[in-house]
C-alpha cells in the first residue's frame, strides 16, 4: 500500500513521529534508529525503548559510522527480547538481507524501515559540518524535492555513495522493506511518500492512498542512471588501472595490514578472521625460507593473499556500502576494487545481493546443470 504521510513540522519530526507511533502502539518493542550523540557531532545507531528519546533521533543525518545491518545482527542474532523496527539506508537493508542468509541477522521479528538515501559523508566530515554549524539535512531535502541529490558545497559524499545505484529502498532489485519512506521527487517538506507491505499498518499510520508520483519515478530513474554511469566509470578506471600483478601490487603497496577493511565490512561476519588465526602464525624459519626463495620478502607477509582471499569469500555478496574505504587509513579505494570484483562474480551467477532473503548465497548452493563451459 502506498500513500502520503502528512508533515506537520519538519520532515525529521514527521519520521520520528511515525517511529513513535510504531513504538507506542506496540507494533515494535524497540527501535533501531540513528540518534544524535549528545555533542551532536555524530549520529549513531541506537536501540531505543523509551519513546522520549526519539526527540534526538536523526534518521536523516547523512552519516554512516557503522553499517546498520551489522548492528541489527547484534540485537537479533542470539535472541531478541522483542520486535525491533530498524531504520536503515538501502545499503544497510541489503546488508541485513545478506546477513540473514548466514544467521547473523534474524529477520523474523524485525520491521524493516527503509529511507531514501540522499547521500552520506565521512564521519569526520560530518563532525566538521556540525562544528561549523552547517545544516546538512535541509539542503538535501530541498534538492531532493527537485529530484536532485548533491553534496553540500565544499564537501563530497563518501566515494561509495557517488557510485551507489541503489539508494532507494525496494528498487533496483532490492528487497522491499516493511515500510519505505520516500524523500526523492516528492514535496518532502509537506508530505512524505510512504510504502508499506502490510495494509493494516498503512491504515494505522493514516496514510492517504495514492499512486506514485511521476516526478518521483523520473527522479529515481535519473539518479540511478547517473550513479550507474559513475559506477561504470569507476569500474572501468579500476580495470584499466589494475591489469597485471605489478599494477595490482602497486594498488596495495601502501596497505599497512591493519585489516580495518575486513573489520568494518558487514559481510565479513567471521568471529575471527582466518588471517588472525594460527594458520598465519608462521614460525620464523618460514620467513627465511620465503626470503631465500624470492630473494626477499615483504613483511608482514600475506598482504595480497589477505585481500584476494577476502574477495573469494565475500565479493559475491558485496552490497557496496563502502565501509571498507572509510576504514582504510591510507585511502586505498577498497570499495571500488571490491565492488568491481564483486560485480564480475555476481554477474556470473545472476546474483543480486540484498534481493531476497530466501535466495541462497552463491557459495551456499549449486545446481547440477550450470557452468557447463567449465565442465
Amino acid at each position: 500500500m502506498n500513500g502520503w504521510l502528512e508533515v506537520h513540522d519538519t520532515t525529521t519530526q514527521a519520521i520520528n513521529h511515525l517511529l513513535e507511533t510504531l513504538l507506542t502502539n506496540g507494533v515494535v518493542d524497540g527501535l533501531l534508529v540513528p540518534l544524535r550523540t549528545p555533542d551532536g557531532r555524530n549520529a549513531v545507531p541506537t536501540l531505543v525503548r523509551d519513546p522520549a528519546l526519539l526527540e534526538q533521533a536523526a534518521p536523516l543525518a547523512p552519516v554512516l559510522p557503522v553499517n546498520g545491518g551489522t548492528v541489527l545482527g547484534l540485537v537479533t542474532a542470539t535472541g531478541a527480547l522483542g520486535r525491533v523496527g530498524a531504520v536503515l539506508r538501502n545499503c544497510e537493508l541489503r546488508t541485513a538481507v545478506e546477513l540473514s542468509k548466514v544467521r547473523q541477522v534474524l529477520l523474523d521479528d524485525v520491521v524493516l524501515i527503509g529511507v531514501d538515501c540522499l547521500g552520506t559523508y565521512r564521519v569526520d566530515d560530518y563532525a566538521r559540518m556540525v562544528e561549523e554549524g552547517v545544516d546538512s539535512v535541509a539542503p538535501a531535502l530541498a534538492a531532493a524535492r527537485e529530484g536532485q541529490v548533491e553534496p553540500l558545497t565544499g564537501y563530497t559524499f563518501r566515494p561509495a555513495c557517488t557510485m551507489c545505484e541503489r539508494p532507494i529502498p525496494g528498487t533496483g532489485q532490492s528487497y522491499a522493506p516493511d515500510i519505505a519512506i520516500g524523500l526523492l521527487g516528492v514535496p518532502n517538506g509537506e508530505r512524505l511518500w510512504v510504502s508499506v507491505r502490510d495494509g493494516e499498518l498503512g491504515s494505522m499510520l493514516e496514510l492517504e492512498p495514492a499512486e506514485e508520483p511521476a516526478a518521483r519515478v523520473e527522479a529515481t530513474q535519473a539518479l540511478v542512471a547517473a550513479r550507474t554511469t559513475e559506477r561504470d566509470r569507476r569500474f572501468a578506471a579500476f580495470r584499466e588501472r589494475i591489469h597485471d600483478p605489478d599494477s595490482l601490487l602497486t594498488e596495495f603497496a601502501t596497505c599497512i595490514r591493519c585489516q580495518n577493511c575486513m573489520r568494518v565490512c558487514p559481510i565479513c561476519y567471521c568471529k575471527e578472521c582466518i588471517f588472525r588465526t594460527d594458520i598465519f602464525d608462521h614460525p620464523s624459519a618460514r620467513y627465511w625460507d620465503w626470503a631465500e626463495r624470492k630473494g626477499g620478502l615483504r613483511l608482514p607477509s600475506d598482504t595480497l593473499l589477505f585481500h584476494v582471499t577476502r574477495m573469494l569469500h565475500m565479493a559475491h555478496a558485496c552490497v557496496g556500502c563502502g565501509m571498507c574505504s572509510d576504514g582504510c587509513p591510507v585511502s586505498i579505494p577498497v570499495a571500488d576494487i571490491f565492488r568491481a570484483v564483486g560485480q564480475a562474480v555476481q554477474e556470473r551467477f545472476g546474483y543480486v545481493p540484498g534481493r531476497d532473503p530466501a535466495e541462497e548465497m552463491v557459495i551456499a548452493t549449486f545446481r547440477e546443470d550450470e557452468l557447463r563451459e567449465l565442465g
Binding site: 542474532a77 548466514v102 567471521c270 588465526t277 594460527d278 594458520i279 626463495r293 557459495i363 551456499a364
Partner: protein
C-alpha cells in the same frame, strides 16, 4: 570354523555385492571367478540407466565406498581367487567341502607391475571378442588389465598363447610362469552362493540380421563397450567399417529373446531400457544422430523406467517404430546396413542389435558341480524357500544366473541371497576395530623429527630414479633427521625396518616414498598402529606411478619430480600443527529394528531379521497382518498366495524375536542410525521405543478408476476383483460359463498417462493370469486384451505365449485413441482401433476387466516421509537412496525400504527385496558405526554459526547446536569429504587429517625449484 566361511562363485555385480555384505556380516568370504580378473560384465559398463553414470561404488553396504572391485582386494574378510572354478561340492549346510579348480593365472599379480614388456614381444595377436574382423580392439595373447580390474596385472589367454616363452625372458620381475599347472584346493565352508552371471545371445545365430557378416551391425554390448570412456573407442561411437561416427542408427529389439525358434522364448527384461539409454547417449556423444528403434513392445516397467523411456522417445531425432525387421543386408561400397521391414527398405549407418541375456556358458557345468537343478533354459531353479534358494539346501543364488535381471534387481537379489546364506552360518558377532588416538598426545610437544624411507620396489625403480641423488637432496630438508633406502616397504621386512628406525632415532613423523598411497592401505594402517603414530603424521609419496613410471622416458626429470614430491611431503609434515585430536569413543547401538507394515514385505523382513538373530517389532496399522497379500490367490507360476500368507502369519506369531503390534501407528520419529526413538500409538496410548534401524514396508493400494463405466455398470471390474470372482467357487460368475461368452480386458487404465506417468509393472501379468484362468474354466470363452505394450518380463513371457496359443486375442491401441466402452443392456460394447492391423474393431463383452495398476498411499506416504525426513519420488512412492545400487535404502542412514512402498512389485520381488532390506538393517545395527579417522571437527569458539557447513554437507552430518551456538559434527555420519572445511571462511571447521596449514605448506613447497 567352517561355518563362518562362505564360498561365492562368480565375482560380477551379484557376486561382489553378496561377498561384501557377507564380509561386513563377519564371514570369511572366498570370492571365486573363472576370469583372470573379478568384475564380470560390469567392467564393460560406464553409463548405466537411469542415472547414466557408473557409481558402482554405491552398491556396497557401507557408504561412501570405493569401487567394489578394488574393495574386494582391500576387505580383510574377502579372499580373491581368480581363474578358479568350482569342481565339486560335498556335504551339508553348515559343513560343505568345496573342491576348487585353481586354473593357472600364469602371471603372478604380486610381481607384475604392468610394465608391458611382455606384451611388446608377444607374437600372437587375437581378437578380443568384442569387435571381430579388423576391428578396434585386438590384443596380444598376454594383455593388460581393464582399468578397474582386480587383480590389476597382466593376464594370459591360454588358448591363444603359443608358449613361445618370449614374455618370460623379458619380464623384469619373473612374474610369468608358463609351466604353471592347475591346482586343486579343498575348502570348508558353511554356505555357498552362486552368481554365474549371464552370456549374451550369440548374434550370429540370428542369421537374418547379418551380425558377423555386415560390418556395421553390432550388438548392444559392443555398443556399450564403445560408450565406455576407457573402451576401445574412448567413448566415441564409430562405425566399424570406416571409423566414422554414424548419423543414422537403428536399434532392433528382441534379438535372441521371445523366440522359441532360437530356443530363447523368454524376455530378457533389460534390453528395452538399455536401448533407450543407448539412444540417448548416442545423441549426447554425437549430437544430431537420428535414432530409430524397431520394436514390438517396449518393456520399461521398472521404477522410473517408463518416465525415462518417454523422455527418450520424445527427444528430437528419436523414433520408435512398432514394426519388426525381417532382414539386414549390407550395401556394397558404403557398407551401410539396409533394413527390410513391412514398410519397405531403409538404409542406416549403423545397426545395433538388442541381444538377449541368457545363462552363462559355464552355467551347466557349475550347476552340475554344485549339485543344483537348472530349468529348461539353463537358469538356476529356485528351491523350496523361494527366490534366492536353489534345489540344494545351503546353496543360494543371485543375479542374472537366475533369470535376466537389471542392476537394481541384481543388487537386491545379492543382498537377499547373502541374508539366506548368513542364516546358515553360525551367529557372528562383529568385533569393533582397535582404537588408539591417544597416541597423538605423545608426539605433539616434540619438535618434528622426520624419517624419510625411500622404497626401490625390489630394485625396479633404481633403473629410473637416482636414489643417491634423492637421498642427498633430501638431507637439507629441515626436519628430516633420518634417510634410509629400502627394497620393499610394503613387505614385513620393510615395515619392521621402519619400526626399528622410528624407535632408534626418535622419529615422530614418517615419509615413505614408493608406490601410490592408494595401494596397500591395510598394511600401512597396521604400521601406524605399530608406530603409535596418528595417520596424519605418515605421508606417502607417490614416486612410482607419479614419477618413475609416468616420466620413465626421462630419468632426470623423473628424479626431479620425485625430489619435489618428497620435499612437499616433508614440508607438509613439518608444518603439521600441534593439535590434539581425539575421536569420541564408540557409543552403543540399539539392536532392534522397527518394521513398519505387516504385509508380505514386512513379515518377510521380520522373519529374516529373526533368522539373523536381530530383534524386531512389526507394527501394522490394521487389525490383521497380511496387507495386500490377503487379496491374492495365486500367481502366474502357480504359487498359492493364501497358503503363503497363512504360513507366514503362523511363523511370525511363533517367532520369539518378533514382537507384533496391530492396530498400531507410528506417530513420531527422531534420532540417528543406531539410536532412533519412535512414538507408536495403540488405541489411546502412545509408547516410546528405541530402535537402531527402520524398515518401511507400508505397502500401496490398488488404483481405482472412473473410466470405462467402472462403478456404473455391473459387468465392469478391476483385475483384482475379477481374480476374487474367479477364485470364489461358491459364486462363479455365471455369465462366463456360457459357451459364447466374451471377456474384454483393457490395460493401462490410469497408468502411463498424465496423471500417473509410471507403469504398474504387474498388470499385464495379472491380466494374462486371469485370462488363463478364464480359459481353464471355459476353453470356449473369448478373451480379448486391449493393450499398449505387453509387459511380461523374464519368464512371464512364456505365459503370454501360452495365452496366445490358447486363443486369447491381443489388440494394440495407442493414445490418444483409447477404447470406447458403451453399455449395451446387460453387456458392453467395446470399440478399439487396433494399430497392428490398422482397423477399428467392435467387441461385445459380457464382462470387462480393467487393469488399473497400483497406487501409492498418497496421504500416509507424505506424512510418513515428512516424519522420517525422507522424500517421495515423482509418483508418490518412497524415493530410494540410489535407483540402481541402493534400491533398498532410503536416503537417511538406518532407514530401509521394501515392497510396494518402493513401487509396484511381483510377489517374488517383494520377498527378495524384504530379505535384502532385512540384511542391510541387520548390518546397520550389528555394530556401532565407527567414526572415520578423517572426520571433520569444529572449533566452537571460532564458529560464527552461519550454517554454510550445514548446507554444504551431503550427508546431513552437520547440525546447528542452538544451545552452544556452533555447528556440530555428527561423527558417525561424517564421511570425511572435507567440503564443510572448504566452505568455512575462517577455518572453524577443520579436518585434523588435512589442515589448511598443511595444505598451504604443500602448495608452497610445490613451487620450490
Amino acid at each position: 570354523m567352517n561355518d563362518e566361511q562362505v564360498l561365492v562363485v562368480g565375482a560380477g555385480l551379484a557376486g561382489m555385492t553378496a561377498a561384501h555384505h557377507l564380509a561386513e556380516w563377519g564371514a570369511q568370504v572366498h570370492l571365486v571367478d573363472s576370469a583372470p580378473h573379478i568384475g564380470g560384465a560390469f567392467l564393460l559398463l560406464d553409463h548405466t540407466f537411469t542415472t547414466d553414470s557408473c557409481g558402482l561404488c554405491i552398491a556396497l553396504p557401507r557408504q561412501p565406498s570405493y569401487c567394489p572391485t578394488i574393495s574386494s582386494e582391500l576387505h580383510p574378510h574377502i579372499t580373491l581367487l581368480p581363474r578358479t572354478t568350482l569342481a565339486a561340492l560335498e556335504g551339508e549346510p553348515g559343513c560343505f567341502v568345496a573342491t576348487l579348480h585353481r586354473g593357472p593365472r600364469y602371471v603372478d599379480p604380486d610381481r607384475c607391475d604392468n610394465c608391458g614388456a611382455c606384451g611388446a614381444v608377444c607374437p600372437v595377436t587375437a581378437e578380443t571378442g568384442f569387435f571381430p574382423k579388423n576391428q578396434v580392439s585386438l590384443q596380444k595373447a598376454i594383455y593388460p588389465p581393464p582399468p578397474r580390474a582386480v587383480p590389476f596385472a597382466y593376464a594370459l589367454d591360454p588358448d591363444a598363447c603359443t608358449r613361445c616363452g618370449a614374455c618370460v625372458a623379458v619380464c623384469p620381475h619373473g612374474a610369468i610362469d608358463l609351466e604353471a599347472i592347475p591346482q586343486e584346493e579343498r575348502i570348508e565352508v558353511g554356505a555357498v552362493l552362486l552368481a554365474p552371471g549371464f552370456a549374451s545371445f550369440d548374434a550370429a545365430r540370428a542369421v537374418e540380421y547379418g551380425w558377423g557378416r555386415c560390418l556395421n551391425v553390432v550388438t548392444n554390448i559392443q555398443f556399450e563397450h564403445m560408450l565406455n570412456r576407457s573402451g576401445p573407442t574412448r567413448g566415441h561411437i564409430l562405425r566399424p567399417s570406416d571409423g566414422q561416427p554414424p548419423r543414422r542408427v537403428a536399434f532392433i529389439h528382441c534379438v535372441g529373446s521371445r523366440s522359441a525358434k532360437l530356443g530363447r522364448p523368454y524376455c530378457s527384461t533389460s534390453c528395452c531400457m538399455i536401448t533407450a539409454k543407448q539412444a540417448r547417449l548416442a545423441q549426447k556423444v554425437t549430437p544430431g544422430t537420428e535414432v530409430t528403434v524397431f520394436t514390438m513392445d517396449v518393456r520399461t516397467a521398472g521404477k522410473g523406467y517408463e518416465r525415462y523411456f518417454q523422455r527418450v522417445a520424445a527427444l528430437p531425432g528419436v523414433t520408435y517404430r512398432r514394426v519388426m525387421v525381417s532382414a539386414v543386408q549390407e550395401v556394397p561400397g558404403s557398407r551401410n546396413p539396409r533394413l527390410l521391414t513391412p514398410d519397405g527398405e531403409e538404409e542406416f549407418d549403423l545397426v545395433v542389435l538388442a541381444v538377449g541375456l541368457g545363462p552363462a556358458d559355464s552355467a551347466r557345468e557349475l550347476a552340475a558341480c554344485a549339485g543344483v537343478a537348472l530349468d529348461e533354459h539353463g537358469f538356476i531353479l529356485p528351491g523350496d524357500d523361494g527366490p534366492g534358494t536353489t534345489s540344494r539346501p545351503g546353496v543360494f543364488a543371485a543375479g542374472a544366473g537366475l533369470a535376466p535381471a537389471d542392476v537394481p534387481e541384481t543388487v537386491t537379489q545379492a543382498a537377499a541371497a547373502a541374508a539366506l546364506a548368513a542364516r546358515v552360518l553360525s551367529p557372528i558377532l562383529p568385533t569393533p576395530s582397535a582404537r588408539g588416538d591417544e597416541r597423538e598426545s605423545k608426539v605433539l610437544d616434540q619438535p618434528p623429527c622426520i624419517g624419510l624411507f625411500l622404497c626401490t620396489c625390489h630394485g625396479a625403480l633404481e633403473g629410473i630414479l637416482d636414489f643417491p641423488a634423492l637421498a642427498a637432496s633430501s638431507e637439507h630438508l629441515r626436519g628430516v633427521v633420518h634417510i634410509e633406502r629400502l627394497e620393499a616397504v610394503c613387505e614385513e621386512s620393510g615395515l619392521t625396518t621402519i619400526e626399528r628406525a622410528v624407535a632408534e632415532h626418535g622419529l615422530n613423523r614418517v615419509v615413505v616414498a614408493g608406490c601410490s598411497p592408494r595401494l596397500y592401505a591395510n598394511r600401512f594402517d597396521a604400521l601406524l598402529a605399530r608406530l603409535s603414530l596418528p595417520p596424519r603424521l605418515l605421508a606417502r609419496v607417490n614416486v612410482r606411478e607419479g614419477a618413475a613410471w609416468a616420466h620413465g622416458s626421462d630419468p632426470a626429470a623423473a628424479t626431479a619430480v620425485a625430489r619435489g614430491e618428497v620435499e612437499m611431503a616433508a614440508t607438509g609434515l613439518r608444518e603439521t600443527p600441534y593439535r590434539a585430536f581425539h575421536l569420541r569413543p564408540e557409543e552403543s547401538v540399539v539392536r532392534r529394528v522397527l518394521v513398519l507394515g505387516g504385509g508380505l514385505a514386512g513379515m518377510t523382513a521380520a522373519l529374516t531379521l529373526a533368522d539373523l538373530g536381530v530383534d524386531c517389532d512389526l507394527v501394522e496399522r490394521e487389525a490383521r497382518l497380511g496387507g495386500n497379500l490377503r487379496e491374492s490367490h495365486h500367481t502366474l507360476e502357480g504359487l498359492d498366495a493364501q497358503a503363503l500368507l497363512a504360513g507366514m502369519m503362523k511363523r511370525v506369531r511363533r517367532a520369539e524375536q518378533v514382537r507384533v503390534w496391530t492396530e498400531a501407528e507410528l506417530v513420531g520419529w527422531s534420532g540417528v542410525q543406531g539410536d532412533f526413538t519412535a512414538e507408536i500409538r495403540v488405541g489411546n496410548e502412545t509408547h516410546s521405543e528405541q530402535y537402531g534401524a527402520l524398515i518401511v514396508a507400508t505397502g500401496a493400494e490398488p488404483a481405482t478408476t472412473t473410466e470405462y463405466l467402472y462403478g456404473q455398470h455391473p459387468c465392469v471390474f478391476t483385475q483384482r476383483e475379477l481374480e476374487q470372482l474367479l477364485a470364489d467357487s461358491q459364486h462363479p460368475v455365471s455369465s462366463i460359463q456360457h459357451p459364447a461368452s466374451s471377456v474384454v480386458m483393457i490395460q493401462c487404465v490410469g497408468s502411463r498417462d498424465e496423471a500417473h506417468p509410471y507403469c504398474s509393472r504387474v498388470c499385464c501379468s495379472h491380466a494374462i493370469k486371469n485370462a488363463l484362468t478364464l480359459k481353464h474354466l471355459n476353453p470356449a470363452v473369448e478373451v480379448s486384451i486391449l493393450f499398449r505394450d505387453i509387459r511380461t518380463p523374464g519368464m512371464e513371457e512364456l505365459y503370454y505365449q501360452q495365452a496366445r496359443r490358447l486363443g486369447v486375442r491381443f489388440l494394440r491401441y495407442e493414445p490418444p485413441e483409447r477404447p470406447v466402452v458403451e453399455a449395451d443392456g446387460d453387456c458392453l460394447r467395446v470399440t478399439v482401433h487396433d494399430t497392428l492391423y490398422d482397423e477399428t474393431v467392435t467387441l461385445e463383452a459380457d464382462l470387462l476387466a480393467l487393469s488399473t495398476g497400483i497406487a501409492p498411499l498418497e496421504n500416509s506416504n507424505r506424512a510418513l516421509a515428512e516424519m522420517l525426513g525422507v522424500v517421495l519420488d515423482d509418483d508418490g512412492f518412497f524415493a530410494e537412496a540410489h535407483p540402481k545400487l541402493r534400491p533398498t535404502d532410503l536416503a537417511r542412514p538406518g532407514i530401509f525400504l521394501c515392497g510396494l512402498a518402493y513401487g509396484p512389485r511381483f510377489i517374488t520381488e517383494t520377498i527378495t527385496q524384504a530379505r535384502a532390506a532385512a540384511l542391510r538393517a541387520a548390518l546397520a545395527v550389528a555394530r556401532p558405526v565407527e567414526p572415520r579417522r578423517d572426520i571433520a571437527t569444529v572449533e566452537a569458539d571460532m564458529c560464527s554459526f552461519c550454517g554454510l557447513c550445514v548446507a554444504a554437507c551431503p550427508y546431513g552430518a552437520r547440525v546447528l547446536d542452538e544451545e552452544r551456538r556452533f555447528a556440530r559434527v555428527l561423527d558417525h555420519l561424517c564421511q570425511g569429504c572435507g567440503v564443510c572445511v572448504a566452505v568455512c571462511p575462517n577455518g572453524a571447521s577443520r579436518q585434523p587429517a588435512f589442515e589448511p596449514v598443511q595444505a598451504l605448506a604443500l602448495v608452497d613447497a610445490a613451487l620450490n625449484e
